[in-house]
């Protein structure tokens, strides 16, 4: 336990769930990885073709992306290392077991105790047998809430092959007569719609992973 806490770089005031620490420890064994991303956006007021990008992760650094196209990447959901959730001091609350995506998962609340954390509470669903994340729900302080579902092709994998990120998104506000024909009917429809939910579907392929030996 102490070893895990040292690994995390934090000294917690309250005990942290041991399964979460095991998962974090497993994720931390990954030194770096690259993968090809395929993104598809499902937001009612956005029409976008399927996009491709490369995702590059190096331990201790921010995830980087590169693409020849213009791509929109969700701010949450692509942090497979859990770094953004466990960056500052936090406590965990065990919520028991729950079925998620057809799997019996351990549910844990992560509550940050440091004001610098950009989320107020996060819930994670963990497959404790396979030591990996199945889903998470993050309530951020500024950017609303995100729900992320992870899918894996094989039991031994810790990095997901498919990720679905669901979020709430406000309707866009476009200046009048900007970028094309301004139709009153459309604006009425947009006004009535209010905030909407959206989703981004990510498919990863061709993982190149470097781990601690």
């Amino acid at each position: 336990m102490l070893f895990s806490q040292v690994l995390l770089g934090n000294v917690f005031a309250q005990p942290v769930d041991p399964d979460l620490l095991k998962l974090k420890s497993r994720l931390d064994s990954i030194q770096s990885f690259t993968t090809q991303l395929t993104l598809s956006v499902d937001i009612s007021f956005i029409n976008m073709p399927v996009k491709k990008a490369q995702m590059m992760y190096t331990k201790g650094q921010k995830v980087k992306f590169s693409s020849g196209d213009f791509v929109m990447l969700p701010k949450r959901g692509l942090d497979f290392s859990l770094n953004s959730l466990l960056e500052y001091d936090f406590i965990t609350v065990d919520r028991g077991m729950e079925m998620q995506d057809g799997k019996n998962c351990k549910v844990i609340n992560i509550i940050p105790t440091d004001k610098r954390a950009d989320f107020s509470i996060a819930t994670v669903w963990m497959d404790t047998r396979l030591r990996r994340l199945v889903a998470s729900e993050i309530n951020t302080k500024k950017d609303g809430s995100y729900t992320v579902h992870f899918q894996y092709n094989q039991d031994q994998k810790v990095l997901p092959d498919k990720v679905t990120v669901n979020f709430e998104i406000e309707k866009i506000r476009i200046p009048i007569n900007f970028m094309g024909k301004d139709t009153d009917i459309d604006r009425k429809k947009m006004r009535a719609a209010g905030s909407k939910t959206g989703a981004i579907y990510l498919t990863m392929s061709n993982y190149q992973i470097k781990t601690l030996l």
């Binding site: 956005i46 213009f70 998104i169 024909k181």
Partner: protein, 276 residues
Amino acid sequence: MYALIKAEIFKLFRQGKTYYAIGALFSIEAIILLSAYFQGTNIIDLLLENLKQRFYFEGTLLNGNLLVYLILNTLWFHLPLILMIVVSGMLTAEYKDRTLQTIMLQPVSKWKFILSKYIVAIVFTLLVVLALALSSFGLSYFFFGKGDLVVYLNGLNFFDASDAYYRLRWSFVSGALSMVFFSVASLTIAILFKEAAKTWIVSAFFLILSNILLKVDFGDNWFNALFFAKLNDTWQYFFYYQINWEQIHFNSLLSIGYSLLFMGAGIYWFHRKDIG
């Protein structure tokens, strides 16, 4: 007829206002490119402001395709206005200089004479749109490169660079039909009003009215579908996510039909009227 067309081409390219008009058009294009260079990022930021809360963006939307799209928007008002002034001037200048009487003293058929003016007006219009298309693609791609296009039309539509190029090319073709309609209409207005100032005012009014009526919803009926003012945004149909080719074909044929109708009416009136 061929000699008349040649003479009309000669006259059109001899008059100074043709070059002023073309110069004005390319100045507008240069201003759009310059303003995009200095302010383009702000415009994109404004457009994507809400999305920025949720997303990181990789790549840039300020690219040649967006610039060509912005230049395409001159098809709403600037380009037809300039074309109407030049084209109507082809006839009003002849009334003013009284060269029309001189020509009519020759063994020249009235309908052939005015038809040659219509033909040259249409060719000139197509050439100007072609020049605008070539210069806007050339300059935009040279200075801003290629990239994905974002257009706000019933939501935010993103198009891949190659798809954007395809749509932009077709919208120039479709826009050319609309420009031909306005050029033909302005020549018909010139036949009716003869005097340059009156013709320009009426032509500008016609253009403004067409733009206003385009935005008026007459309901889901035949008038809304067939009214000429409703056809002038057909080039925009290429920027809906799904291209409605059936509607575009229908509108294009109707637009050609209206151009022929205005042209026929102009030839009829010119034939009936006294030259004086």
